[in-house]
Symmetry: C3
Subunit: 361 residues, 3 copies
Amino acid sequence: MASDSEHDKNTPVTLLLKELAIQTGAVIRGDETLAIHGIATLDSATEGDLCFVTEEKYLPKLERCQASVVVLKPEYQGSFAGTVLLHDNPYYIYARASQHFSPYPAIQQGIHPTAVVHESVTLGKGVSIAAQAVVEQGVSIGDYCVIGAGSVVGAGTKLGDNTQIRANVTLHAQSQIGERCIIHSGVVIGDDGFGFAPHEEQWERIVQMGNVRIGDDVEIGANTTIDRAALSSTVIGNGVKIDNLVQIGHNVEIGDNTIIVACCGIGGSTKIGKNCKIGGATGMAGHLDIADGVMITGMSQVTGSLRKPYTSYSSGTGISETGLWRRNVVRFKQLSELTTTVKKLQKQVKKLIENTDGRES
Amino acid sequence: MASDSEHDKNTPVTLLLKELAIQTGAVIRGDETLAIHGIATLDSATEGDLCFVTEEKYLPKLERCQASVVVLKPEYQGSFAGTVLLHDNPYYIYARASQHFSPYPAIQQGIHPTAVVHESVTLGKGVSIAAQAVVEQGVSIGDYCVIGAGSVVGAGTKLGDNTQIRANVTLHAQSQIGERCIIHSGVVIGDDGFGFAPHEEQWERIVQMGNVRIGDDVEIGANTTIDRAALSSTVIGNGVKIDNLVQIGHNVEIGDNTIIVACCGIGGSTKIGKNCKIGGATGMAGHLDIADGVMITGMSQVTGSLRKPYTSYSSGTGISETGLWRRNVVRFKQLSELTTTVKKLQKQVKKLIENTDGRES
Amino acid sequence: MASDSEHDKNTPVTLLLKELAIQTGAVIRGDETLAIHGIATLDSATEGDLCFVTEEKYLPKLERCQASVVVLKPEYQGSFAGTVLLHDNPYYIYARASQHFSPYPAIQQGIHPTAVVHESVTLGKGVSIAAQAVVEQGVSIGDYCVIGAGSVVGAGTKLGDNTQIRANVTLHAQSQIGERCIIHSGVVIGDDGFGFAPHEEQWERIVQMGNVRIGDDVEIGANTTIDRAALSSTVIGNGVKIDNLVQIGHNVEIGDNTIIVACCGIGGSTKIGKNCKIGGATGMAGHLDIADGVMITGMSQVTGSLRKPYTSYSSGTGISETGLWRRNVVRFKQLSELTTTVKKLQKQVKKLIENTDGRES
């Protein structure tokens, strides 16, 4: 096993507690002059670290916590002897604080000599294009964009300002990506949708003539694939967050701020509303409508539209010990039959009761 | 959000309606001299566009459709005032028409100066090898093949004529790929199968000595993985279409023209017949036999062989609102018990009826 | 279809039977001087090949098997007329024999001229860095490591001795990988975990400040993704084997020698014990505890912790013909209701029996 690293603190970054409080509206109780050098768990924190507590059950850990400051809900402010930062949503304060740190080295602006950038490319200010990257003809790259090592940006693609393309990403021709997006490694955007017409027991290829359009503030997880539309566009709204290894079929449309956890597959032409939360490994058939704010728990099998907004849906059998599961799964396959048996029993019992009642009366 | 693109028409392509009719056997009613400049949806079509209707429910849209020509089944030919192209399978005509268009720029033949091509490689006519690609020793590349940017073609690999390898693909040593295939970005073909022998609570690695053999006219979707065989070959038949993020285990064999939708996992040594349709996110155990023409709906759990050809199979629980699902899933775990209870009830009721009958008679 | 290859034997390798016997403790019955030139299936073996039989049902094939030596359990030694190698676990002997062969060409030590290796990188002895690879600042690479073509090794990453990174892999900054690991093509290690804090109907990004730590003798399958921790580390133990297209969330910890089959998704912060076997396409929620030695069958939906060590768990409905499945799935959605009906029937029948008994007595 490799030994423990100390990488969390290898870049000397300082975040003033006061600055964080001003940015977020959180309130300091204690030393207002503190400088934060890192973020840590309650157990591992040392001097200079910020910690946070989101659940009451972790409060007892604060007794031995060595952090310089702990983010708490106002009602828990008495739980820590040192400086506290108070806010109703400590997790949000943690998120904002984390944005001052990074495990990555500083990005070097400019084009690496091994990158291949077509002469027709439009480059914004402060762009970084890493080693072995390829940027094809007619691409337009916004200010302060980063193209990671080995990534390929197809012809005519447009990237908004401050968008990051990590290493070994593939963006196919004509893709449009908004501002402040992060596209993680191995992602494939705009490769062809899966379209074939059956003809004499073979499959006739349908050229996918559309593209992919992605809004602002979108994050796409590693090795996720988003197919180009057959016609018009596959559309990912603003603020959408997609995890790793997700498949988005052609002509799918996803509303603003929807979040999709890893390993989901979304069938072609399905429309998902805004503010939805799709649990991991959920599969959706194509051509469905999912209402705004729908929440789907993990591994759900979505075979039809879900039209009730802000409603939670689930599927699957949960998990049991294998012996019990085997017996139950046999019975699942006889469930319709069982129901028929029960209905028949109901009638028989009803009649028996009537007879008995008749006799008794 | 990025603004709408007009990329569908950025290459001035013209397809003569008459040519399409001759190629496909479709019949023109109207202006036989029409030139088609693009394909569009019924709602967005403008002059020069071809549209198609596959389902009766879309016919009312034809009243306001601005397309120059609409592909229809012969029985609907009266539904559009302009020129129509008649065929029993409009979707097939759309597919054939689409093949005259492309969202990609024209491919440049030749080897990009940054590509690394081993001196022993055999190159056909008109081959294109893009920037940063690597082609290792002993590779044989057929006529008019395309190797995308950043792709790696392992030693001894053979590619048939007119096969396209998109950007950032990895083909491992000794892979064999037929003619007219399209291997999409991020695909990994011929990396090692998952083989380990248990030995003293650890796993002893089994070197995967076989390879992957892929037929003609095969399409492999983005980020899909096809493992090399332990011994002999993993085999993908002619005309097979595999979508994105699919896993094909070592020594799997897939029959001609079978189609596999995204996110499926096929366990090692499973044999799938020809003309099968495997729905998305289906999981198959290893060492199974799936008969020809089997259809499997999405998210199916295939734990045993499916030997009835041209038969449709399904699994899963569908989806419900979470509250109802929770109650049902508790009951699923008691299903065997419930069945026992019902059987007991049946006996009791039978006896009660006999007693009643006996008493009544 | 591409023609059959003979790649299994294209490198003339010789393994002395005696050497294999000494290495593994297996016993030779027959010609102790034999040299093995390859490994083959019982049906395809020719002179010079080694075969193995793990199950009794394959013994009849030995009558016509042309192999020079067959590995058998001692009790079956009479089943083959030629030389046999006897061991209680023939599959293990096959694994050990396979390690003397390879479908890949010999690795060339040294740094390819097109590779980009930062001047600050620490290189062990006999390292191989292939074409178009990128190795960033502060990376430390152990002796005899191999970095495949097009791979990107992020800043500060550490690789133990004899570790192989295949082509087109991405290792993000600060990743730590042990000795003798194999990281297959398309793998992404150490890209950001999926962490966002909800704030005013949007998602506030949580910078993932931790890293990924991988033990010795680990294998990570093609296109698998392992996310860096939010804080501290995502940890993969020694001897862990992970198949293709698996997602490992941030802060997951996996115990030694656990094996995870393809297409699984493991939610963030879940802890899996040692010696577990996780079937393919299993989905696990986050923050769970899975005990040592737990076995989970394929496509299981793991929604809660599994705390019973060395126990087998399962889930799912299996598969049925679609018509039957449709009827059963309707009934699944009424299962709670059905159970209530049955309970009511039980009461009614109990009363009827009491009444009858009362009347009869």
